[in-house]
């Protein structure tokens, strides 16, 4: 009898232990800024997860911009990666991909879950490490012409289709104190990312960039120099203004909204600057004007282009799970649960609604401002994409290119000189890698 009682006690304790919820703590590094559109909604997303999952405690560290990357590098060096972290698919998060610091999400999430995402998002080839270290939330077009259709019409111009159309606008629009196209380049990366990548795609194509990366072509070859010449000509012909080389990236969205330029060249992510702020009900461009007066267009056709209509695009940012979490552990289950929540249709709809991005998850619908609604249509109208250069080249190389494009903007360096400098940087980088 005594033995039976003891056995029952042991069994009941084991059963109770089995059913008791194991409390798991996840360290998370979130990329967030309080003055970004959709901040309040983003905060609410995290709060909801914590409320719905009392068995999971989230230790969230929030950083933005360079401090985020620096901290992640420090964690990588110390071997203490957070359990869940925000990551870039390319060279920006090179250490994560190359050192395989993140779990393969293909295995963690499974094919059944990933079938609800676009093929581009789940293609490991779109990530630096050629495995699915992260799941891109969006597939970003980095080169979009935001066109003030009304301003053009008021000055007697139709929507531009060619370089000649843009050049024709210069005298009349300049006389009205309006720039034809605005591309702020004080931060050096916007020109490369938001215009030059598309120009290279048009003039040279991805095959040429592949050849460059493989060392079978050179930056000093004609296609690349021609692409640089297109940028130099845009400044020389007055389509782009040299003073914009000194304009900070954050300043330009407001300047375009106030009618200082007919066209604004930026990535598709810029739509978030124009959406209505839910708290104040204000928008840089009213939803009515977004609907009737503004359109999103690809870069116009340029003289000498070989690949008409291509637009630079790249897999967007997303979430990763630390490779150091033991497989099959409660922590891994919790991390997978968090990832699945962050990519759930509900959360993606909120993010889409705040204009953060157009989700890679299929079938996500949200009530969005008209300009945001135009982004998926832009994708559909422009299916041919090309590389974004900073997603293909090493920073040691593309930083030199970025600086060269600034110099071209100022008119202080010729395209051939910049091409030679980039080639030299590439050779130095190659030599250092040996």
């Amino acid at each position: 009898m005594k033995k039976l009682l003891i056995a029952m006690l042991v069994i009941s304790m084991a059963v109770a232990g089995g059913f008791a919820q194991e409390k798991v703590t996840l360290s998370v590094m979130n990329y967030q800024q309080a003055d970004q559109a959709g901040y309040a909604e983003d905060v609410a997303i995290w709060q909801k997860f914590q409320q719905d999952n009392p068995d999971i405690t989230l230790n969230i560290e929030v950083l933005f911009n360079e401090p985020y990357h620096q901290k992640l590098q420090a964690y990588a060096a110390a071997g203490t990666m957070p359990d869940v972290f925000y990551v870039w698919p390319g060279a920006r998060s090179a250490v994560v991909h190359e050192k395989k610091l993140a779990k393969d999400l293909n295995k963690l999430l499974g094919a059944a879950y990933l079938k609800d995402f676009s093929a581009a998002a789940t293609n490991p080839a779109n990530q630096l490490g050629k495995y699915m270290a992260m799941l891109p939330q969006s597939f970003t077009y980095s080169s979009v012409m935001y066109v003030n259709k009304k301003l053009l019409a008021d000055n007697g111009f139709a929507l531009p289709k060619s370089y000649a159309d843009l050049k024709k606008m210069v005298p009349k629009l300049k006389a009205k104190g309006v720039a034809v196209a605005m591309l702020p380049n004080k931060d050096a990366w916007p020109m490369q990312s938001c215009l030059f990548s598309t120009v290279v795609g048009r003039m040279a194509g991805d095959a040429f960039m592949d050849a460059i990366v493989a060392g079978k072509a050179r930056f000093t070859d004609k296609p690349f120099v021609s692409a640089l010449e297109v940028i130099a000509n845009m400044y020389k012909d007055g389509i782009l203004s040299r003073e914009d080389v000194q304009v900070g990236y954050g300043e330009a969205a407001g300047m375009f909204a106030s009618g200082k330029a007919a066209i604004y060249i930026d990535g598709d992510w810029r739509v978030s600057s124009y959406i209505t702020d839910k708290a104040s009900g204000k928008a840089l461009i009213s939803p009515e004007a977004q609907e009737s007066d503004y359109v999103l267009l690809p870069l116009v056709s340029i003289p000498g282009e070989k690949n008409p209509g291509v637009v630079s695009a790249v897999a967007g940012t997303g979430w990763a799970v630390s490779a150091s979490i033991p497989a099959g552990s409660a922590k891994e289950l919790a991390a997978a649960k968090l990832i699945k929540y962050l990519y759930s249709p509900e959360v993606q709809a909120i993010r889409f609604g705040t204009g953060a991005y157009v989700p890679t998850r299929k079938g996500v619908e949200a009530v969005v401002d008209p300009l945001v609604a135009k982004v998926p249509l832009f994708y559909a109208d422009n299916p041919k994409t090309c590389y974004v250069i900073d997603g293909v080249l090493d920073p040691a190389v593309y930083n030199v290119l970025n600086d060269g494009l600034v110099a071209i903007g100022f008119g202080t360096k010729a395209p051939a000189v910049v091409a030679a400098e980039v080639q030299k940087a590439y050779q130095n980088w190659k030599a250092a890698k040996k």
Binding site: E66, H69, Q70, Q73, A76, A77, A78, G79, A91, R92, A94, V95, E98, K99, L101, K167, K168, V170, P171, K172, K174, A175, K176, G177, K186, A188, K236, D237, G238, S241, R242, E243, D244, V245, Q246, V247, G248, E251, D394, P395, A396, Y398, N399, D403, G404, V406, A407, F410, G411, T412, N428, A432
Partner: protein, 395 residues
């Protein structure tokens, strides 16, 4: 007790006493040693962890092939020789950054110090009214946040800032008056090819590139204003042709540092003013009064009394200025970020860019930081030599 015994016993007693003393001494020494280590060890460990280890790690990394990831226990990394140093010395950006640092050292030593000294002398000798007011005015920039100062001057020099606004207004006024002269020559709205050519000549060659066929296109544009107020045409032609002022000189390596150097001069001169003024106030005023009674001019008072009395302060200020110049980062980072095109980079920003931006290159960044240390040592040795020669005269 036999003397021999006594002696023997005495020896034994002495030996035991001696051993006791020895043992006590030894115990003392052990105790002292323990106490010494108990007191020194925490500080020594803190020093090793906080100072020595990072320095040694920095040296090790600078000659390694570490390329990210877990530093200890991750992918193995090893000795790569002086590759990173060779890379630094072959990089033109390094030499540009070093040159910019030299400019800052020069503006600090040859600008801030003499100006600070002169201002201090003027205030000390009450050669201006309200010396306290001027002292405050000159010192205020020094107490402002460097980030605030950096952003303030960045705005002032921006293409939409007050300098650009002023330059644009001036350029516009000049062009407008030339245009008026051209139009008054023809009288009325009589637009001829010759008039259009004159306007294009006024605008300069760059403007012609905006047109495919400049003369007929500009003529058509001007004719489209027929019936509109003349002032509107003039205004729009100014919009079209007046080149907006942009700090393009910032892209030229030799000129880009000028605004930065000006701000450094503006910001830190006040600090040296206070240093010099405080030391001038220690000088016995009777000496100065006696010199003045003997007919010494202000220049002579400064040259033969104040400067010798402050020679030690001047040398110490020079050391401060040099070390401050080499470690400067925040002001320039906030003002230019090292741009445009990295022409205003200084060594610390150059190191930061290699250590943190894009794909971090820690061996390279550590090599840069160690080169910075060596440059600092060289400059400090130079100033110490100066101090030996000119210093120590301060009363």
């Amino acid at each position: 007790m036999a003397p021999g015994m006594a002696s023997s016993a005495g020896f034994a007693t002495k030996t035991i006493a001696g051993e006791g003393r020895m043992s006590r001494k030894k115990h003392h020494r052990v105790e002292e040693g323990r106490a010494y280590w108990a007191m020194v060890l925490p500080a020594f460990l803190i020093y090793v962890l906080v100072m020595a280890f990072p320095i040694i790690l920095s040296v090790v990394l600078s000659v390694s092939n570490y390329d990210g990831g877990k530093m200890f226990g991750g992918d193995p990394w090893g000795f790569a020789g002086l590759r990173s140093y060779a890379q630094v010395f072959s990089d033109p950006l390094f030499w540009n950054a070093l040159k910019n640092n030299v400019y800052i050292v020069l503006i600090s030593v040859l600008g801030q110090l003499p100006l600070g000294f002169i201002f201090a002398y003027i205030i000390y000798r009450k050669l201006v009214k309200w010396p306290g007011f001027w002292q405050g005015v000159l010192y205020i920039p020094n107490i402002l946040s460097v980030i605030v100062v950096g952003l303030l001057w960045q705005t002032i020099f921006s293409p939409n800032g007050p300098i650009a606004e002023f330059m644009n207004t001036m350029a516009r006024a000049g062009f407008q008056s030339k245009l008026e002269t051209v139009f008054s020559g023809v009288g009325g709205f009589n637009i001829t090819d010759d008039l259009v050519r004159k306007i294009l000549n006024l605008a300069g060659p760059a403007a012609s590139q905006w047109f495919t066929d400049p003369v007929p296109e500009l003529k058509d544009l001007i004719l489209s204003y027929q019936g509109s107020p003349h002032a509107l045409l003039i205004n729009d032609l100014c919009n079209l042709f007046v080149q907006k002022w942009s700090p393009e000189f910032l892209s030229k390596p030799d000129l880009a540092m000028l605004p930065v150097l000006f701000v450094i001069l503006w910001m830190y001169t006040g600090m040296y003013l206070i240093l010099f003024l405080a030391n001038m106030q220690k000088i016995d005023t009777q000496i100065i009064e006696a010199a003045r009674i003997d007919g010494a001019t202000e220049w002579q008072v400064m040259r033969f009394i104040i400067v010798p009395a402050l020679s030690g302060t001047i040398v110490n200020s020079a050391i401060l200025a040099i070390s401050g110049s080499l470690s400067s980062f925040a002001l320039i980072f906030a003002m230019t970020g090292g741009g445009p095109s990295r022409v205003t980079e200084i060594l610390s920003i150059y190191m930061y860019n290699n250590a943190f931006l894009g794909r971090p290159n820690l061996p390279l960044a550590n090599a840069i930081s160690l080169i910075m240390v060596l440059v600092s040592f060289a400059l400090i040795a130079g100033t110490k030599a100066l101090e030996k020669r000119y210093g120590g005269k301060e009363e």
